[in-house]
Amino acid sequence: MTALAGKAAIVTGGGRGIGRAVTEALRAAGADLTICGRGARPEDLPAEILWVQGDVSRADDAARICAEARAEFGPVSILVNNAGIQIEKTVTETTDDDWDRLIGANCRGVFNMCRAFIPQVPETGGSIVNLGSVSGEVADPSMAIYNASKGFVHALTRSIAVDHGPRIRCNAVRPGWIMTDMAEAGFALAHDPERARADAIARHPAGRLGAPQDVAGAILWLVSDAAGFVTGQSFTIDGGLTSASPLQPRLF
């Protein structure tokens, strides 16, 4: 596939999980990839992918990530804001430090990256995809400021589309249950992991849980010219989870 040949892309948090699947999908489509994370370069990262160590919650780092990508590959026309963290707490349990870390990564990080990215986008146009969540629309319990941070992402997505079109298209994806190492760890903690998994699957009209590649496929489409008239939208990718009522008597 060469849909993105000659285009440079940045994927934040691209080293693992959903971000890694996005990185691989964009690379397979011919894009030149720059990815970033707070830690060291992942050992299994292909050599042609540029790794920038940096923390998107810091404006200086965000500017440096964009600058290094541009120095390596020329003007960058694709940004995927994937980096984010979860903290499992209610409002009253949340500390100031929790707030700074989560809002720093999930809100300020997205803002920092967009602010650094937009001015350098070439005249031919560019595309941003932000990672929202179904939790930004309906609440997961004990995830208060995470849920709120994703609501921020959905609203910022619309604002950027309105303010910076037509040069920039900006969309979001809202994943539901995607099986990453983080989600697997959740099942491992259940009283009966197999029963918990069966219950979770039964709540998905798609009959399975999501894979990182499910999200990557949607993002690949959104950044391609095939989605040239699509901007300001947030797409739910949840196997039908939130199309069904939260109350399922058949699963009592």
């Binding site: 319990p141 009283h191 219950d199 989870l241 199309s243 939260p246 109350l247």
Partner: protein, 263 residues
């Protein structure tokens, strides 16, 4: 709050409709309870709030006749509540065209016809300085799906869209149009649902199932017909004079949350 107002409630002898009629009466309104029979889905003698008018919402002739009665006796109509409705527990594959047409005839066409023939009377009320109001019954099922309720979900989505359209068309005439979208309200219809296809996979008594239903709600409760009547009363009153074209979800917080997995 509704002193001197004239209200007609379709499905006025059903679980929710009856509570609305009782509340309107308590607030001082003249109430017409339109339904198929004087006791509806309630036991005979369970209560008779408001004046009963025989009206099948699938019959345009009966709706015309009911409005003529209201016109003759009260001269105007301030409030129309379209509470008549049925459910149908099937996927589309097992829904016959007759069943499909019947649920649409009651839930959607009934709402359309009652509103259409109430409009001249509602205009009289709004011309008299009152804010006239139509309150339709949508459902949270118009936003998200319950399994095996396809036609019902579709009718409620249609009511939601009709509500916004009517609000746009008739707002300039001083007629407000809103919809209430209830979740689980403890009515004969809900208890019937849990006695049938909607009962839990684990079996158990109706009481057990209702306990589990309550547990899923952030409020840990089902709604009561009186809860719905409270919101209808507000929407019908002058306190809601700036509220129109909206879909008011009343569900104890149920649909604010993602499905909760069992861990």
């Amino acid at each position: 709050m509704l002193q001197g107002r004239v209200a007609l409630v379709t499905g006025g002898r059903g679980g929710i409709g009856r509570a609305i009629c009782a509340r309107f009466l308590h607030e001082g309104a003249t109430v017409y309870a339109a339904d198929l029979s004087d006791h509806g889905s309630m036991e005979a003698g369970a209560g008779d709030a408001g004046r009963f008018i025989r009206m099948d919402v699938t019959s345009e002739a009966e709706i015309r006749a009911a409005m003529e009665t209201v016109a003759g006796d009260s001269g105007r109509l301030d409030i129309l509540v379209n509470a008549a409705g049925i459910e149908l527990e099937h996927t589309i594959e097992h829904t016959s065209l007759d069943d499909w047409n019947r649920i649409f005839a009651i839930n959607v066409t009934g709402t359309f016809l009652a509103a259409k023939h109430a409009l001249p009377l509602l205009r009289k009320a709004s011309a008299g300085g009152s804010t006239a109001s139509i309150i339709n019954f949508g459902s949270y099922d118009g936003f998200i799906a319950d399994p095996g309720l396809a036609a019902y979900c579709a009718t409620k989505g249609a009511v939601h869209a009709l509500t916004r359209a009517m609000a746009c068309d008739h707002g300039p005439e001083g007629i407000r149009v809103n919809a209430i979208c209830p979740g689980y309200v403890d009515t004969p219809m809900l208890r019937g649902f849990f006695s049938g296809a909607g009962s839990g996979a684990g079996g158990g008594t109706l009481g057990d199932v209702l306990d589990k239903v309550r547990e899923v709600h952030p409020t840990r409760s089902c709604g009561t017909p009186e809860d719905v009547a409270n919101l209808v009363n507000w929407l019908a009153s002058d306190e809601a004079r700036y509220a129109s074209g909206q879909l008011w979800v009343l569900d104890g917080g149920l649909t604010a949350q993602v499905q909760q997995m069992k861990f």
